[in-house]
């Protein structure tokens, strides 16, 4: 237990010590998206009757930032310690692979939520927000962060070099997060792309998360919860199997 809490503490401390880069910078990025998109689209796009475009955009940006930073946390921590060799400090101790998984994923969730809360606070001035069903907000934030934290663990142990991880990020994570309805409702897409979006799990994370704020969404939050939970279980299982085998960690 102490092994687990220490690893979690160390993983949180690791990003917190460089908080400007790991928390403040993504908040500023999200703010820039908000300023630009809301300026350009506010008067042209109306997704739901009761919600202004800027207000619609905020939860999407919050979730997108959370997801990207949760992924970045576990993946960059692992690849850095693999490249420098300091990974052995967590491989030599008697830490079980389950505790290892939990510590990296929870730290990723903590980083994601820190950034998410930062984005939320920074955008409060721009649009009046509602919190119709806060439980949905919390559930999707936790599950989304955990899924991306798991993916980060997988990416971090799979990649041998920084550029392989960058490829993972640029060709998988970024397209999935951008093409998930952050900036628009998928109902505004042509039917073909609507269908495609339904295969993107991140679409459900954002849609369910947004439902918690406005009480309206593209699909039912229960539907989203099922999809997201299934993803979570599958990814967790995969990550645990890899960690148990010591895939790419123990030669």
């Amino acid at each position: 237990m102490i092994g687990f809490t220490t690893l979690l503490y160390k993983e949180v401390l690791r990003f917190w010590k460089v908080g400007f880069q790991t928390v403040a910078a993504p908040v500023i990025t999200a703010l820039l998206y908000l300023l630009i998109f809301s300026h350009v689209l506010e008067t042209h796009v109306k997704v739901y009757e009761t919600v202004s475009y800027t207000a619609f955009l905020v939860p999407g940006l919050v979730m997108m930032s959370m997801l990207q930073n949760a992924f970045a946390n576990s993946s960059s921590s692992l690849i850095q310690s693999k490249v420098t060799g300091s990974i052995i400090f967590v491989l030599l101790p008697p830490i079980s692979y389950q505790a290892f998984y939990l510590a990296y994923v929870l730290a990723a969730v903590v980083r994601g939520i820190s950034v998410g809360v930062g984005v939320l606070l920074a955008t409060l001035w721009f649009a009046p927000l509602q919190f119709v069903a806060p439980l949905w907000i919390i559930v999707f934030a936790l599950l989304g962060g955990a899924i991306m934290g798991s993916l980060g663990v997988i990416g971090g142990i799979w990649a041998d070099k920084f550029d392989q991880l960058a490829a993972f990020q640029n060709f998988l994570i970024m397209p999935l997060t951008f093409l998930s309805g952050v900036f628009y409702s998928i109902h505004s897409l042509p039917p073909f792309w609507q269908q495609v979006s339904h295969f993107n799990p991140i679409f459900y994370m954002i849609d369910g998360f947004r439902h918690g704020f406005f009480g309206v969404s593209d699909v039912s939050p229960w539907h989203s919860l099922v999809v997201v939970s299934v993803c979570f279980v599958l990814l967790t299982t995969l990550t645990l199997v890899l960690l148990k085998r010591g895939y790419k960690l123990r030669a």
Binding site: I2, G3, K10, P94, S96
Partner: protein, 308 residues
């Protein structure tokens, strides 16, 4: 008594390289054990396997009776490994690094834990650097922290993989003093090094590895006796020739003839033989047996009965 380390029928292959080709070895509790061999012999692979960093193709390793795979958590609690590579976590100070390492091993923050960390720091001359960030330390200092990290959980078995490679004399002395003390206090020590005089003076028993096999295994004293002897080392005058009877026994390297002998009272007849054939000498000294000699012979493949 349970062996500190028990290695049975261990093999490991990396692609086309057979890094470990069937190793059997026991290290008893309280031993100061040397693991020697040329680069690529498999020393680091063997250490990594017992630390759980490398998965074996076949065979078993136990640390104080705990299998490193089946019972990995207990096995890892019993062993502290100083890795060969100079690695560090740049985010933390020396003390943070050690506190975190303690936590990984499940040791709660307490006065006893702090006192032990202080003691380790003191013994490795690190006290003044306790608050320094790891990044700011010199190579030698980083090496000391690696040693300290391996010791924070007071492991009964301590494994050091080339801890003195590229390290200054001062650290070597500090380090060996401390490690000797830990050995006297009952810790089992396993050491790899390329400094053979270091191994000779520290280790009570030695295994020599070559291409993933143990090619010699015995007490240091026996190895020295078996493969190296006292020798009369002569540098002959310009035109001098050894008498044929002696020339047969001598080994000539770089103009120095070494004539081995077993007892010191054999020297006198040797010298008499030289005198009687009018052989003039420029230099004469008595060479002691040394591990380098043993190492060279064993590696050349004259192992004979090197395994006992």
């Amino acid at each position: 008594m349970t062996p500190a380390i028990s290695i049975r029928q261990v093999t490991k292959r990396f692609g086309s390289v057979q890094a470990l080709a069937g190793i059997d070895l026991n290290v008893q509790q309280g031993e100061f054990f040397g693991l020697l061999g040329p680069n690529g012999a498999g020393k680091t692979t063997l250490i990594s396997a017992l630390a759980g960093l490398v998965r074996l193709d076949s065979g078993h390793i136990e640390i104080l009776g705990c299998d490193v795979v089946a019972d990995y958590r207990n096995a890892r609690r019993q062993v502290g490994v100083v890795p060969q590579e100079l690695v560090f976590d740049p985010f933390f100070s020396v003390r943070e690094t050690l506190n975190i390492q303690c936590g990984y091993f499940g040791i709660r923050q307490s006065r006893g834990r702090d006192a032990w960390i202080d003691e380790v720091l003191e013994n490795l001359d690190l006290t003044a650097k306790a608050k320094a960030n790891m990044r700011s330390l010199s190579g030698g200092m980083k090496r000391r922290v690696l040693v300290a990290q391996a010791l924070v959980h007071r492991p009964p078995v301590i494994v050091l993989d080339e801890p003195t490679a590229g390290v200054d004399v001062e650290l070597r002395q500090t380090l060996w003093q401390f490690i000797r003390r830990l050995n006297r206090d009952g810790h089992t020590i396993v050491l790899t090094t390329h400094y053979l005089e270091e191994a000779e003076s520290l280790c009570t028993r030695i295994a020599m590895l070559k291409a993933g096999r143990v090619v010699a295994l015995d007490t240091t004293a026996n190895l020295l006796q078996r493969f190296s002897a006292h020798a009369l080392r002569l540098r002959l005058s310009q035109d001098a020739r050894l008498p044929p009877a002696l020339a047969q026994r001598a080994e000539i390297k770089e103009g120095v003839c070494s004539i081995p002998f077993e007892r010191f009272d054999q020297i006198e007849p040797l010298l008499a033989e030289l005198r009687s054939c009018g052989c003039h000498l420029d230099e004469l000294e008595i060479g002691k047996p040394d591990l380098e000699d043993v190492f060279v012979r064993v590696m050349r493949g004259q192992q004979g009965s090197a395994l006992s």
